[in-house]
Subunit: 354 residues, 2 copies
C-alpha cells in the first residue's frame, strides 16, 4: 500500500495536531454532482452502481477531483448487509429502498443467516480494494455500515418509515425478538466492517440514522448497546496505523456522553447540537465530526463562510475536530457552494491550529 | 362560566400541589377513535369538521367520554392562521395539508394581511365558546396555535416537508424576508391565542413542530425569538385565574434552558428527552409536560404501565408534571391501550403526591 500523503483526517479523529481542520461531506459522491449523474446513467440502477467496483470507484473519486477534501468514503448503500441476509433489496424510483421480504416474527429472525462478509459481500470488498488502489495514498478511505437499529428498522418496515410502527410494535411488545435481530446484525456488521478494514478502509463510520427516533432509555438498550458490541469487536489497528471508529446517531445530541463511553474515537454531530457545548460535555474523550446544516449550502457564499467561522469558533482551539455537514449533502446543492464550504474550512481553520 | 370541577391540569402547569398527576394526550380527538371517524364522515372534509362548532365540539369531547382525561383541547387545525391570511388551505387525502399559494418573496410577505382574529378566525372562537359551554367545568379547555416558524415552513413550502428546502434557502439567503414573515406571524398568533383566551381557553399551547429541524443558533433566532414575542404578548390571567402557556418544540430537548427563559409556564417534551434530566436542567422555573413515546401504546398493557412508572419515577416527587405523550397519538393506536395509559398515570402517580 502506498504511503498516505494527507493524514489530517486520521490525525484529527485521534485528537492529534493538524495544520488545518480536515473536512469531508457525508454523501459527497452523489446526485448534486453532474458527473455522478452521468456515471449513474451509464451504470444502470443505483444498485448496479454500488455493485460494480469500477463505477463505484469512479463516483467515490469524483468529489475529490472538484474539492480538496481530506477523506474519501466508500460509495455503497447502507442496506448491503440486510440484502446479503436474503431480504432482496431494490429501489423504486423516487420511493427510496425497499425489501422484498420483511422481518416481523421470531421465526423470521431465526431464519436470517449472518452473512459471510468475504463471500456474500465480496463485491463491497472489491470496491474498497479498487478505490484504495486508485486513491494511491491521496487521502484516507472511510468504510461504513448502518447501525444494527437503523438496519433493523428497514428490515422490519420493509423500507423507509416515518413512524416506525412495526419496529416499535416489536420493541414494545416482543423486545426479545428485536434483541435477537439486533444481536445478529451486530455480529454481521462487525464482520462486515472488519472485512472492509482488511480490504483497505482506514477509518470506519457507523451510521445510526434512526437512533434519534427512540426514547433515551430505548436508545441505550436497542441502539447504543449494539453499537457498543461492534466497537468492542472492531479491528482498531491495521497496516501499522490506528483505524478510528466514528459513531453518528442523527438526533443523538442529547446522548453524547453515553456515546463517548463506548470507546469510539469520534462522534458525528448533526446540526442541531452546538459543537462548543458538545465539546464541553465530552471533553477530551472523543473527537467530534460535524456539523453544518447541509441547507446552509442554499445560502450565499458569504453566509456559508460565516457559518463555517461560527462552527470553528464554537469548537475553538485544540485538536479533535473533523469538519463535516450535519447530514448528507442535498441533491439540490450547487457544487460551487460546496466548493466555497470546503475552501472556507481550510482557510478559516488555520488560525485555530497555530 | 361554570366553576371548574377538575383543575389538576392548571395547577400542575403552575407547579401547585395535585392529588395525582394530570394527563391528556396530544391529538386525543382523532382517527384512532371510531366515534371520531363517524363524526368526520358526517361532517365531510377535515376542514368542514374544524369549521363547524357542533362537530368540532363533538369530537373534542369524545375522548373525555372514554377516558378520565384532565384536559380537553380545542379541535382545530394548526394551519388556520395562514389560511386566514389568504393562502387557501386544503387537504389531499393521504397527502397532508397544502396551500394554494406559497410565500417565497419579499413581495409575497408584504402582501400578507395580519388576520383579524375575531372576524377572520371567528369560526375558531365559536368552537371555543361551544366546547367551553359543553364542557360545563368538567376539565379545562386548552387553546393552541402553531409557532411562527412552524407555520412559516408550511407557507413557504406550500405544505408538509422533510427537508424544508425553500424555507431554509430563504433563511440562509434572505433572512430579512423570513424575519418579516415571522414577525407578522407572531403578531397574528398572539392575537389569535388572546382571542381564544377571551373566548374561553383556560391554557394555551404553542406547537413548534418543526423547530427541531434548525441548528441551535437558528432555532434561537428564527423560532424561539418569535415564541418569546408571543409569550410577552399573551393574556396571562383571565376570569380571575392564571392562563398558563406551554411551549412545545418537537426535537427541542437540547434547548430547554433557553425555552424556560421565555417565561412560559411549562415546556412540552418529546420522548427523546429523559424527563428527570430535563427537570434537573430547568429546575423549578417551569412545569414539564410529557413524554411517553406514542408508540409505547403498541406495546402490551404491562409494558405501557411499566413505561408510565419509569417516567413518573424519572420526574420524581414534587409539583409541576403534566403527563402526556411525546407527540400525537397515532391513528393506529388501540383505544383500549390508551385507556390503560390514562389509568396507569392516575393510579401510579398518587404515591408521588403524598
Amino acid at each position: 500500500m502506498s504511503e498516505l500523503k494527507n493524514d489530517r483526517f486520521l490525525r484529527a479523529l485521534l485528537r492529534q495536531p493538524v495544520d488545518v481542520t480536515p473536512v469531508w461531506m457525508m454523501r459527497q459522491a452523489g446526485r448534486y454532482l453532474p458527473e455522478y449523474r452521468a456515471t449513474r446513467a451509464n451504470a444502470g440502477s443505483f444498485l448496479d452502481l454500488c455493485k460494480n467496483a469500477q463505477f463505484a470507484c469512479e463516483v467515490t473519486l469524483q468529489p475529490l477531483e472538484r474539492f480538496p477534501l481530506d477523506a474519501a468514503i466508500l460509495f455503497s448503500d447502507i442496506l448491503t448487509v440486510p440484502d446479503a441476509m436474503g431480504l432482496g433489496l431494490y429501489f423504486e424510483e423516487g420511493e427510496g429502498p425497499r425489501f422484498r421480504k420483511t422481518v416481523r416474527t421470531e421465526a423470521d429472525v431465526a431464519a436470517l443467516p449472518v452473512p459471510d462478509a468475504q463471500k456474500d459481500l465480496g463485491y463491497v470488498m472489491e470496491c474498497v480494494r479498487v478505490i484504495r488502489r486508485e486513491l494511491n495514498g491521496r487521502v484516507p478511505l472511510i468504510g461504513f455500515s448502518g447501525s444494527p437499529w437503523t438496519l433493523a428498522t428497514y428490515m422490519i418496515e420493509g423500507g423507509s418509515s416515518k413512524e416506525f410502527r412495526h419496529t416499535k410494535t416489536m420493541l414494545y411488545s416482543q423486545p426479545q425478538v428485536l434483541h435477537a435481530l439486533l444481536d445478529k446484525l451486530a455480529q454481521a456488521v462487525t464482520a462486515y466492517l472488519n472485512e472492509q478494514i482488511r480490504s483497505g478502509a482506514q477509518a470506519v463510520q457507523i451510521f445510526d440514522t434512526w437512533g434519534g427516533a427512540l426514547s433515551a432509555a430505548a436508545y441505550r438498550e436497542f441502539s447504543l448497546a449494539y453499537m457498543q458490541k461492534i466497537v468492542n469487536g472492531l479491528i482498531r489497528e491495521h497496516e501499522g496505523r490506528k483505524v478510528p471508529v466514528i459513531l453518528f446517531t442523527k438526533g443523538g445530541g442529547q446522548w453524547l456522553e453515553a456515546m463517548a463511553d463506548t470507546g469510539a474515537d469520534a462522534l458525528g454531530l448533526d446540526w442541531t447540537t452546538d459543537i462548543g457545548t458538545a465539546r464541553a460535555r465530552v471533553g477530551s474523550r472523543v473527537a467530534l465530526q460535524g456539523n453544518m446544516d447541509p441547507s446552509v449550502l442554499y445560502g450565499t457564499p458569504a453566509r456559508i463562510r460565516e457559518e463555517v467561522a461560527n462552527i470553528l469558533a464554537a469548537f475553538g482551539k485544540g485538536n479533535g475536530h473533523v469538519f463535516n455537514l450535519g447530514h448528507g449533502i442535498s441533491q439540490f446543492a450547487d457544487p460551487e457552494r460546496a466548493k466555497v464550504f470546503v475552501a472556507a474550512v481550510h482557510e478559516l481553520s488555520a488560525a485555530y491550529h497555530m
